[in-house]
Amino acid sequence: MKKEDSEQLTRVGYDPDKHDRSGSFLMENQSIIESLSLYEGLELLPISEAIKKYKWVEKKICTLVSRDDPYVKAVLNTQPLQGAFIYVRQGYKIRLPLQACMYLKLQTAQRVYNMVVMEPNSELHIITGCTIASYLIKGGHLAITEFWLDDGTRLSYTMIHEWAPEVVVIPRAAASIGRNSVFINNYVALTTTRKVQMAPIAYVAENGTAQFSSIIYARDHSHFDIGARAFLNGANSNAQILSRVITEDGTVIVRGEVVGIAPGTRGHTECNGLILGKGSIRAIPMLEAKIDDTELSHEASIGKLKEEEITYLRARGLDEDTARSLIISGFLSARIENLPTYLQNKIDQTIELTLRKGL
């Protein structure tokens, strides 16, 4: 791997040496470069091979996301279908993260289909980095990811995106979350990107948990339309949709939708926004209760940096830029519940490096 590629991929969580990884997947444009499982109980294949190996794989494709979506159609029309198939066998609890990276090295639209299947009582942590070669400013990334979490499973899926100013990114994702299962979905995007539009969906069964966190820094002309939707189908299931967004001349729309369907369900959507310079943030919560025994709430706050906080840090000897940078990185570095320390540290590190580069 060339040094510049290695550096670019490292920025989004990919370790070329695969140190402390349970598996590694790398897709460059439409080619699979690497698909390697390093852990017993974990199968990692190109989706095209998985379709040949398991009959049930093809039947599952696009049963969670809508086939009517034009972007879904665009991916499905790509031949051969390319992406990662991640399969964890029953009872395997894999604590080391699996890394999956989608790398765009041509000025084209990358089309990806990923499938994650978790058998009962299994656990996995995935860190996905999506990025573009440093010499490109234009391109596209269309992706579908479908997750099947059987009963008693735990999956964290942390996505770090680092794109270029003229890239359009349209991911589609949906998860079926089994009984007593936990799905943690994190999205971090801190660099200028023409357009990102996505709202992953969770269908949550009895006692299941869906937890979505988005950390966005919309610079320049960036346009982020992000969020999540959770359908609380099973009794005592719960969902949280949390967003921390900063705009600096960009546009951010944050959507959080929770639908309470079964008794004893709880849902919360929350957006904290910070406006630096120009730009806009629109928080759109949507709560729908289909039963009286459900507890749904939303909370949003949007504002500017507080002078009092900057002054306080200046009185400690920090210059104004350092004080602002510290507050901004602090604002973005929200603790994500249930996330392994390594992944939390990676998110914090990404925020710090990006801000250091950008401010």
Partner: protein, 252 residues
Amino acid sequence: MNVPLLKVDNLSVSIDGKQILKDINLEIPQGEVHILFGPNGSGKSTLLHAIMGLPGYEVRGKIYFHGTDITHMPPEQRARLGIGIAFQRPPIIRGVKLGKLLELINSNKPDIQRMAEELQLTPHLQRELHYGFSGGETKRVEILLLIAQKPDLLLLDEPESGVDLENIDLIANKLRHLLEKEKRISERHRSALIITHTGYILNYLNAAKGYVMVDGRIKCSGPPRDIWETIRKVGYSLCEECLLQRINEKRR
């Protein structure tokens, strides 16, 4: 003659055109602790903020530190020169960990760990600044930040208010140490200007001078314990009639 560590010369301060401080004059020599008394709203905190150079204040007159005119210096520059402040009500800064801020102020990590331990703040290093802290914890954190800064001049805005006796003991002993009270006066480098409403701090720090501020003016100055005794007995009602005069008469 030695240059005082701090000299405030005919200082007047306004906020949005409203005058808060009027013709303040004071000098703090190196190694001395001075106390600022006064009723609520008299301008004591404004004086500390003006010395620290916090924005939002219109200032007339001069402030000298180590003989250098710092009247129009930004706060970070004053902090780097050696002025440190412990705020009465510091802001909560979400996401910013105490440990991270300390590292930016003082790069000596083992030192920070030790100082935090001594102030019983080791677990707080990983917590967000002042978020969910008790009154005592907030004050101890302010002192910890000051210790990390190692300033020559400490501006302490009610370091003991809202703090239980055990915490007062801890804070005051740390301040004693920071102010080198175990050394002879001539060997002390640090000075302090302290606002107090409770007077507890006087039991720990041998303060050289006290001032009473009323309505934005220093009405009198003198031995801090004597001033405090009078305030304790009769409040600030006598200040308009010149408290100092009464104290001096009493002494004679």
